[in-house]
Every structure is written in structure tokens, then in C-alpha cells.
């Protein structure tokens, strides 16, 4: 099948930006189809981090000397770049955490315990990554009177919006916490509509954008998200830094979670007054080099253009939808109307683990298991797990063709 890819988007040239893509695995060219777990890094990110350590590194916000000032400047520049990337109103609305999981846990502790009231509920869904489910279960189990509800997922793998409305109807939900794109089904959720529904019911809304922010242009102001989280390492940046966007007035009303240096205004032996957001939430030495890497990653995808990336990935999704269902014995999980480049599937007669080892020996990296979404696998009756191929901006239609061919081969091998 012919796949039309934007002429502005030269995937061959883009692949040259990623040193790892020219390596071989088991003597075969690497076909990396696990970007949904963590994406590979372009030279721009690698070099920016190296440069920072070689020329401009010291601790931030502390020293009145050149290097510390330079490091502080680049750390805060990363905050401004992130603000612009997400369409946030002010840089103070960007809190750096260690990853998406840490960001959600922070909201669960600070907003969950500090702002939500006994009798209120958190509303999440069946299709969440454990990172957006377990923190809310922990909050529910903390015996402070906060309950937990789940939105159902339809057979097509979409959020059941009628069920969402029904579960918001009594006005007792204080916070809606949903994925913006499923890491298993690829389903993109209608964030603006969800936010509107939540707000009409008097609830705030948090989106887990770990997958979505990588594949689409996200504008938190247009969506009217109250909180939005994503992580750098899935956006071609480094591990160790994640982002929490929070509306200024919400952050200002939230108590700190971690106490320590860098988050205080004044400390005496008797009491401490806290710094304003976001410093209040960034106790201790922050991920300084990682912030530089995140900044470089944002510049990298922004220069290519999120629109161009989205168009490229739409073409990949169309291609995968044309090719994968043709593999005998393959069943795709979910079939949402609006989906991104994540495909979890079962291959009849072949266990995901065995399949993943088989593909690995052909240089193809996929993920096998339940992808940190055990309830969703139970929901679709595949408790034993699935195999997942996920795409990045460097993925090509030829790689999807190779995957399909090797799936057919695997089925013969394990027959």
C-alpha cells in the first residue's frame, strides 16, 4: 500500500538524528517499536546535556557565581520552553518532577489530601496506566473519606462518555483524572469535552499526557485542563524529569508534598514558611541536566513541528490499520475512531513473551505483557497480556511491513 507522507517530513533525514537507530541488534538493523515505553534520543538532546555538563554546570538557585547563574538560567529557560510547548499562561504553572508517575502522585498527595474534602470522589477510568490508578487507590485507602470511581471503556476501546456523565451527575466528584491517550489501545480521549463535562459538574480535571503530548500538539489552555502531566523520556528527552502543569490558582492553594531545601521562604526551628509555586513543589536539587535535555527535546520536536509529526504518525496508523489486521490470527485490542500509534494485539497460538523474543532475534523491539494496565487487559479478557508495537516520529511504514511479515513467520514457527 502506498503511504502518503508529508513532503515536509523527511523521515530518512530524521532517523539520522538518532544515533541508536543505526545500531544492529543480533546482527539485524534495529526496528524500534517500543517508543511508547521510552523513546530514543536525538543527537541534539545528547549534545545539549553533554554541553551543559562540560560548560555550564553547577547547582541552581543557590550560588552567586557565574556557573550557578548559568545553570539557573538554563533550568528556568527549560520551564519557559515547557510553558510554551503546553500553551500554559505562565512559567510558574510548570512544576518539574521526576516523571509522570511522580507528578500524579504529587497531585494525589497535595491536592488529594490538601484540597479535596471528605465525601468527594476521584473519577478515573478502566483504561489507565497504573500510574494514574494506583495513586488514587492509595488516596481512597488513606481513610480520609475520599472515594474512587471508574469510567467504563466501550468494546471499541473508547471512554464511555455516557458513563462519565452518569458518574459526574451527583456533583460529588472533586477531581477527574483520565488519560489523554491510552498506552495500550492508542485511544485519544476528547480532552476538551471531558474538561467541559467535569467543570460543569464542579470537578477539576487532570490529564495523563504521557502518550498524547508526544504525538499531538497539546494546548492546556484550549483544553482547559486544570492539571496536565507528561514525561520527557517519551518525548525523545532524558529520563529523570517529568512535568506537572497546574493552573496557577490551584497550585497556589496546594500544600507542599516534599519538604527540604529550595522550597522554603524562611525556616526557624519552630516553623517554616514556604516559597510560592513552583519552587514550593521542587524540594531538593532538581533534575538540572535533565531540564536542559527536556528543553532540547522540546526544541527538536517543535522545529520539526508537532503538526508534521502528527501527520506522519496518522499516516503510520493508517498504514498499520491496513496491514496488521491482514496478519492471520492477529486480534487488535480496541478500535477507537481517534487513535495514535500504539497497537496492542494478541497473536493466536503465540504467547506475547515468546513472540517478543522471536521478534527481538529479528532486530524488532516490541513490548510484551500488560503494559502497566492490568485492569484494562482484564476488561478485554486478555489477562495473560498482549504484545504492543508503538511508534515514534522516526518509525517508517517499512518497519510496520517488516513487523507484519515477522508476525506471520512467528505464527508458522510456533505452530
Amino acid at each position: 500500500m502506498d503511504t502518503i507522507i508529508s513532503p515536509l517530513f523527511d523521515v530518512t533525514r530524521i532517523r539520522q538524528d538518532f544515533p541508536i537507530l543505526s545500531t544492529k541488534v543480533h546482527g539485524k538493523p534495529l526496528t524500534f517499536l517500543d517508543s511508547g515505553a521510552s523513546a530514543q534520543k536525538p543527537r541534539a538532546v545528547i549534545e545539549a546535556m553533554t554541553r551543559s555538563m562540560e560548560t555550564a554546570y553547577a547547582n541552581v538557585h543557590r550560588g552567586a557565581y557565574h556557573l550557578s547563574e548559568a545553570a539557573t538560567e538554563s533550568y528556568e529557560a527549560a520551564r519557559i520552553a515547557t510553558q510554551r510547548f503546553l500553551g500554559a499562561t505562565e512559567p510558574e504553572e510548570i512544576v518539574f518532577t521526576s516523571n509522570s508517575t511522580a507528578a500524579i502522585n504529587f497531585v494525589a498527595h497535595s491536592y488529594g489530601r490538601g484540597v479535596l474534602q471528605p465525601g468527594q470522589f476521584v473519577l478515573t477510568s478502566e483504561m489507565e496506566h497504573h500510574a494514574n490508578m494506583v495513586p488514587w487507590q492509595m488516596l481512597r485507602d488513606a481513610n480520609i473519606g475520599i472515594g474512587l470511581r471508574y469510567v467504563r471503556v466501550t468494546e471499541r476501546g473508547e471512554l464511555d462518555l455516557e458513563d462519565l456523565a452518569a458518574k459526574l451527575a451527583d456533583g460529588k466528584v472533586g477531581l477527574v483524572a483520565l488519560t489523554h491517550m491510552s498506552n495500550v489501545l492508542g485511544t485519544v480521549t476528547p480532552a476538551a469535552q471531558i474538561a467541559r463535562m467535569a467543570h460543569e459538574a464542579g470537578a477539576k480535571v487532570l490529564f495523563d499526557g504521557s502518550q498524547a503530548a508526544v504525538h499531538r500538539h497539546v494546548d492546556v489552555t484550549a483544553i482547559d485542563a486544570d492539571f496536565y502531566v507528561f514525561t520527557a523520556h517519551k518525548l525523545y528527552g532524558p529520563t529523570g524529569i517529568g512535568v506537572l502543569y497546574g493552573k496557577r490558582k490551584l497550585l497556589d492553594a496546594m500544600p507542599p508534598f516534599l519538604g527540604g531545601g529550595d522550597m522554603i521562604e524562611s525556616v526557624t526551628l519552630e516553623r517554616t514558611t514556604y516559597a510560592a509555586a513552583p519552587a514550593r513543589f521542587e524540594a531538593g536539587t532538581p533534575p538540572i541536566i535533565e531540564a536542559v535535555g527536556l528543553h532540547a527535546a522540546i526544541d527538536y520536536v517543535t522545529n520539526i513541528g508537532m503538526g508534521a509529526i502528527e501527520a506522519h504518525e496518522r499516516a503510520l496508523v493508517d498504514h498499520a490499520m491496513a496491514v496488521l489486521p491482514g496478519v492471520e490470527g492477529l486480534t487488535l485490542l480496541g478500535g477507537a475512531q481517534d487513535r495514535g500509534g500504539v497497537f496492542a494485539f494478541a497473536l493466536d497460538g503465540v504467547h506475547p513473551h515468546d513472540l517478543s523474543t522471536f521478534l527481538d532475534r529479528h532486530g524488532i523491539a516490541v513490548r510484551a505483557g500488560r503494559h502497566c494496565a492490568e485492569p484494562l487487559h482484564t476488561r478485554f479478557g486478555v489477562e495473560g497480556g498482549t504484545t504492543r508495537a508503538s511508534f515514534g516520529l522516526y518509525t517508517t511504514p517499512e518497519e510496520i511491513d517488516l513487523l507484519a511479515a515477522k508476525l506471520t513467520e512467528a505464527r508458522r514457527f510456533f505452530a
Binding site: H26, H351, H353, T357, E383, G384, G385, F413, F414
Partner: protein, 151 residues
């Protein structure tokens, strides 16, 4: 055998026959001890059921939801442990784990020779726990623990 381990070496006929062999599969009507082994990352799950004769294992059966290596390991366990004391069965499990981790499989005794089908697994490090899950479950069953995991 190649440096990185050939797929065909891992999935030998012996291993695949064991994985499919129904001889030791299924929950028995009566048993003296049982435990469940879970691999939380991949979803593999093995239930082991044992009947005892004093300190000796009379019979072992399994219900495994897992990959071929996991099922083959559970079947081999059920084949090898009857007639052994609990300590001997535990030692055998330790040996299976060592063989899978290091590739050392030069034992000459028959039963250990059977375990050597897992020697190739050391070239597939992420699959070692597929071998050990059933044996962990056996240990848990014998020590009265109900659940264990591969982690």
C-alpha cells in the same frame, strides 16, 4: 549455536513438547499443598499442586497460563519432583535457576540432564524468570505460602 542465542535453540523440540504435554497439567481433586506464582510484569501465572507422603512429594501438577518456557518448566517440575524430599525438590529448583542464569548444564545425572534444556535461556536474560516461576511456586507451596512472584 550463535553468540546471542538462536531462536530455534531456545525453542527446542524437547522444550516445546514439554510445554504442550498434558500429562502433568490440571488441578487435581485432592492435594496437600498449593501456591500461585505470578509474574506481575508479563501476566504469567502458575498454580502448583502437590500431594505429599510425609516429607516426600508423591505427585505434582500445574495449571500454567504463560509462555512456552514457563509451561515447559512447570511440566518438567511435575515430572522431576515426585519421589523427592522437600529439601531435594527445593535444591532441584535452585539448580534449574542456576542453569538458566549461567548456562552451566554439564551434569551427567539423568534428571539434571533434563534441566539442561534451560541452559540456552542464559542467552535470553529476560526469560530466566520464565523458568524460575514454577519452582518459586513450588517452594511457596511447600513452605505454606499461598502466593509468590517472579520478582
Amino acid at each position: 549455536m550463535s553468540e546471542t542465542g538462536d531462536i530455534a535453540d531456545l525453542y527446542s523440540m524437547t522444550l516445546r513438547d514439554l510445554a504442550r504435554d498434558p500429562a502433568h497439567k490440571g488441578r487435581p481433586e485432592a492435594f496437600d499443598a498449593t501456591a500461585r506464582g505470578d509474574n506481575p510484569m508479563c501476566g504469567d501465572r502458575v498454580d502448583i499442586y502437590v500431594t505429599l507422603d510425609g516429607d516426600r512429594i508423591r505427585e505434582a501438577r500445574h495449571v500454567a497460563r504463560g509462555c512456552e518456557i514457563c509451561q515447559a518448566s512447570a511440566s518438567l517440575l511435575a515430572e522431576l519432583v515426585p519421589g523427592r524430599t522437600q529439601a531435594e525438590a527445593h535444591a532441584l529448583g535452585q539448580r534449574a535457576g542456576e542453569i538458566a542464569k549461567s548456562g552451566a548444564g554439564n551434569d551427567t545425572t539423568d534428571e539434571l540432564h533434563r534441566l539442561s534444556i534451560f541452559a540456552v535461556v542464559h542467552k535470553f536474560p529476560s526469560r530466566v524468570k520464565c523458568v524460575t516461576l514454577a519452582w518459586n511456586a513450588l517452594d511457596a507451596a511447600l513452605s505454606g505460602v499461598k502466593e509468590t512472584s517472579s520478582e
